[in-house]
């Protein structure tokens, strides 16, 4: 079974975010990056399926040069090869539809049974790229997947609905699945894996290689301003050494809020 995993590199979860000088995005200086969390789970699921059923895991990622680091991490964990969509032309592809167009074009000549993506990225959080790729490639899809059971030519998956409800659905393959965080336990790359990854292929793909121009990658929506959200409540911050702060808080909870 061949599985494509779409990976995105995003700022690390605990990054201190500041608004950039253009006021339209974060200041990307001094930021460290990592694989978007749900994508890491999608990769893990692909690796586990490969270990059970054989086949190949192909990673595809659109991003600047730094994204190569997350691609290498995926190869070190056990992915077989990678496609890196790396070209300044892709810089204009800032909405889901444009990114999806590039990924779909890059996958046109690949043979796969499943495409896995995280359910949404930790930065933009569009929750769209995977499904648009599915539509563009004519694939059936299921989102927010908690379990994957491949059958002969179909895949049975457990979907999470809202408020604690679930549903198993069956899709013919090839199909696209968006994976929920926590579906499995993530592995770490081993030293052996890191060494093996050095020999694995990372194919760099430019827009022209897949027949796209900047016109094809124009976004349908643009961010005109990024800013820190206004607080809906005024938080009273309690300061002091731990014991002091604890005493002040208990005082407030007993006599001001009167909740304990």
């Amino acid at each position: 079974m061949n599985i494509v995993v779409c990976l995105k590199q995003v700022p690390k979860k605990d990054s201190i975010l500041r608004i950039g000088s253009d006021g339209k995005w974060i200041d990307e200086r001094d930021i460290s990056y990592e694989m978007s969390e749900a994508d890491a789970y999608a990769l893990e699921e692909a690796l586990r399926q490969k270990e059970k059923h054989g086949g190949e895991v192909i990673v595809v990622s659109l991003g600047p040069e730094r994204a190569r680091q997350s691609i290498k991490e995926a190869l070190a964990k056990g992915a077989d090869r990678a496609i890196h969509l790396f070209d300044s032309v892709f810089d204009t592809a800032t909405d889901s539809a444009a990114v999806a167009r590039a990924i779909s074009a890059a996958l046109k000549d690949e043979k796969y049974d499943l495409i896995l993506t995280g359910l949404q990225s930790d930065d933009y959080g569009f929750a769209q790229v995977g499904l648009i790729v599915a539509e563009q490639l004519g694939l059936p899809s299921a989102t927010i997947v908690m379990e994957v059971q491949p059958e002969d030519s179909a895949v049975r998956v457990k979907r999470e609905l809202e408020s604690g409800w679930f549903q198993w659905v069956r899709l013919p393959m090839p199909a696209l699945l968006t994976i929920q965080s926590g579906i499995n336990q993530l592995r770490y790359a081993t030293l052996k894996g890191i060494m093996a990854a050095k020999k694995k292929e990372i194919r760099e793909v430019k827009a022209a290689d897949i027949g796209l121009t900047s016109d094809d990658l124009k976004p349908g929506q643009v961010i005109e301003r990024a800013y820190l959200p206004e607080k809906t409540k005024r938080t009273e911050f309690i300061e002091g050494k731990p014991a002091e702060a604890a005493a002040k808080l208990v005082e407030k909870l007993r006599f001001d809020a009167r909740v304990i």
Partner: protein, 332 residues
């Protein structure tokens, strides 16, 4: 030329999803500010009840789309049906609530129409005839104002809780309900469905607990839960958690608060090492008093907290446990 606004009303097994009324608040606001007519669309089979419930609100029309292929929700059925509706009505905006069902089909619908879809919005502003949408990025840490450059119809979904369902305006008289003819003969439903189910019945009903201490990713390892447990015991509270804790099985699933877990509104919600991702916040933001302990002063949990302590939870939690034990032993 595109005109009017279309609101998608979600139903499951003939029950209207309340978040559709939340999205309706935004849709009614946009309609009134732009002078556009607002209609709603309901898909399914045996949906007359849902349609009448929607029609009691201030709407110009309710379209019902009934077909055997829509009896149960599938992405293939919904995309095909709504594509025909949107192409025929050609609205300027299609407004949806950002539910798990909408997330499952609406991006495909937008792609099949070749249109843009702005997801998970928390607000909007109208500038002349244009609408600028506000959506959060980095899990609520930053807001962005997003301008549409694509041609209409524009699809936009609103986050659960962004508006209050009880603010949806009622109509002076019931809106006309009209069946909308579509043709799904050639549509192949590729998804085979099994019955929906709930995981082992929830053993703990946290919605009744007056005091809740919830623990998040900041706790770092399972062994450290013990430290929080001591605080829980000192307070006489219930322990709860954010999703990553339950995913790691450090606490059972029935302790999870948030969109995929329980929704609570206790007297006191004490969040320990919880950053406040929106998926968690929707499950607890109506708590009476919220206390947050977190090392990151920028964590979104502080946006909704009444009291905050910025610092190392491994120092603060034991100090708090000791203080509460001391106060209680003094007999108040």
């Amino acid at each position: 030329m595109s005109q009017g606004i279309l609101l998608f009303i979600e139903q499951r097994d003939g029950v209207l999803n309340r978040t559709s009324f939340e999205a309706m608040v935004a849709a009614q606001g946009i309609a009134s500010a732009t002078g556009e007519k607002l209609s709603a669309v309901v898909l399914g089979k045996a949906i007359d009840g849902v349609a009448s419930e929607a029609a009691s609100k201030k709407l110009d029309a309710v379209h019902t789309v009934q077909d055997d292929k829509l009896a149960e929700y599938t992405p293939d059925g919904y995309v095909a049906a709504l594509k025909q509706v949107v192409e025929k009505l050609d609205p300027r905006f299609v407004i949806l609530s950002h539910t798990y069902q909408v997330r499952d089909f609406a991006p495909k619908l937008a792609a099949s129409l070749g249109k843009t879809f702005v997801t998970d919005c928390v607000g909007y502003r109208v500038e002349g005839s244009e609408v600028v949408f506000t959506r959060q990025v980095f899990q609520g840490k930053i807001n962005t104002d997003v301008r549409m450059v694509a041609e209409p119809p524009i699809l936009a979904s609103f986050q659960a809780g962004a508006y209050r369902a009880d603010k949806a305006e009622a109509g002076d008289s019931a809106a006309p309900i009209t069946p909308f003819e579509i043709n799904l003969t050639d549509v192949q439903i590729r998804t085979q469905l099994e019955p929906k189910f709930q995981e082992a019945k929830q053993a703990v009903d946290l919605s009744q607990a007056p005091l809740i201490v919830a623990v998040g990713r900041g706790i770092k390892s399972q062994e450290n839960i013990e430290m929080v447990q001591k605080l829980v015991e000192a307070l006489g509270a219930e322990i709860a958690a954010s999703r990553p804790i339950c995913d790691n099985e450090w606490l059972p699933m029935d302790r999870q608060i948030g969109s995929s877990g329980q929704t609570v509104s206790p007297k006191l919600y004490l969040a320990v090492g919880i950053s406040g991702a929106i998926q968690h916040v929707v499950g607890m933001k109506n708590s009476q008093t919220i206390v947050a302990i977190n090392k990151d002063a920028e964590a979104p949990i502080f946006d909704i907290a009444d009291y905050g302590i910025v610092g190392d939870l491994f120092d603060i939690v034991p100090a708090l446990t000791a203080e509460i034990t001391r106060v209680k032993s003094e007999g108040k």
